[in-house]
Amino acid sequence: MKLLKRVCLSLGAVLIALFGAHLAWTNSGSNEWKLVSDQDGIKISALKSPGYSLMKYKVNVRFDSELPEVLFMLTDLDTGKDFGAFDIKRIEEISTPSLFYAYDTYKLTLPKPFGQVEVVLLNQCYEDTKTNQYHINIYAAPNRIPREGDIPRVVHLSNNWTLTPVTDGVDVESVSEMDLGLPYVLANLAMPEVIGSQIKAMREVMKTDRYKNAKPVLLSSSQAP
């Protein structure tokens, strides 16, 4: 009986401590970007907003590629195959000289024990003619197609890319936030490393034939900048 009491008390104390820590973390944050990693020309900053448990991340990097190649990599449907996605499908594609957007779906396998997740997203791309920058915005669109099966679908994903052509390549800024269903402590600890690896993989993949001299849909229907 004494042991049961101690277990109950310990459990109660742990639950209260965890709940307190959760509230303290969720309501903390400066709402300002802080540099968390600067390696191999890849700068990663993190931002904690009060009211959120997950952090947002910003990447600044220069790709030594032509603008159409970078645009192609970020908007072509089959790029996902080079980054571990499977069951990739394009649901809808609207392509005009001024704006391209598509609804895509794919699945990802997360590290064990987390299983698979399904992603349905809007991928849109357009040029800001005032700045000559290209914007690629990617947002979760979980209701665009009905659900099939039991694989959880991502409902919180926002990734905004800004591409600025420069003399020797393209300056890229990406601001991202997403909830893949992992515990937020784990997600917050792992994301800077995951994002850094993804950017390195993008730089490598763009050296391959598939991406060299590639033309994205948006630019193939208008003049290259």
């Binding site: 931002l47 005009t96 357009y126 800001d128 926002s158 601001v175």
Partner: protein
């Protein structure tokens, strides 16, 4: 004094701790039972004054999706103008600080990013919505499907607000053979409320919303609207020219 504290401590151990543990176990069980329940099919919840409201429970999600449907005698343009939002109509919907972050409209498509603030009752923070809307009318059927996605990263964070990160609403407007517009709204949004509260209130909220739309769309502002991205049923398809009207 020591004896008194010891007595209080024993009382807490006997009554409070078991109660907390029992409640925690019960609430955790109820939470997981609810979370993984659901048929993934629409179920009719209300059918009144021509407005039907349905809910859908997906296994794995705590929030219900809510859908409402009605038929309205109005032009397609007026319906699209009401549902897609605009500076001139934001006052009709109660949001504050409505801002157009960007907007592109051509005869082929419409895309816009808006932000607006929605004050919430205490203890909840003011909710800020940054959303991306887009549609491309089906020129054969004239049907318009407005997709609304949360775009929380599109603008820098605002102080003292909490931004909606999970929102994917779909507004379907379908011209019918009898001249009416079938008006269907599906809401899937997490406003940061406790989910039992949100699930109980959303069907009624959407019912009231559509009842309001039905009257609002018939007012002059909406009836006079003209949109280059929308063709009315019965009108021939417009020839696309290079002089696309755009604003960014």
């Amino acid at each position: 004094m020591k004896a008194l504290f010891a007595k209080i401590g024993r009382g807490i151990c006997k009554a409070f701790v078991p109660t907390v543990v029992t409640l925690t176990v019960a609430l955790t069980t109820a939470h997981f039972s609810w979370k993984y329940s659901g048929s993934n099919e629409w179920e009719l919840k209300k059918d009144e004054n021509g407005v039907k409201v349905y809910t859908l429970k997906t296994p794995g999600s705590t929030l219900l999706k809510v859908k409402a449907d009605m038929q309205v005698a109005t032009s397609l343009t007026s319906a699209v103008f009401l549902l897609r939002g605009d500076e001139s109509t934001s006052d009709d919907f109660g949001g504050k600080d409505f801002t157009v972050v960007e907007r592109i409209e051509t005869p082929q498509l419409f895309m816009a990013c808006y932000s607006a603030k929605h004050p919430m009752p205490p203890p909840f923070r003011t909710k800020e919505m940054v959303v991306m809307l887009n549609y491309a009318q089906d020129k054969a059927t004239k049907k318009v499907e407005i997709n609304v996605q949360a775009a929380p990263g599109r603008t820098p964070p605002s102080p003292n607000t909490s931004r909606v990160t999970h929102l994917n609403n779909i507004f379907r407007l379908t011209p019918l053979a009898n001249g009416l517009i079938d008006w269907e709204i599906t809401l899937d949004v997490d406003m940061g409320l406790l989910y039992p509260l949100a699930n109980l209130s959303m069907p009624e909220y959407l019912f009231n919303d559509l009842s309001y739309h039905k009257k609002l769309v018939l007012t002059e502002k909406y009836q006079k609207a003209r949109l280059i991205s929308v063709e009315e049923p019965g009108s021939p398809p417009q020839a696309l020219t290079s002089s696309l009207q755009e604003s960014l």
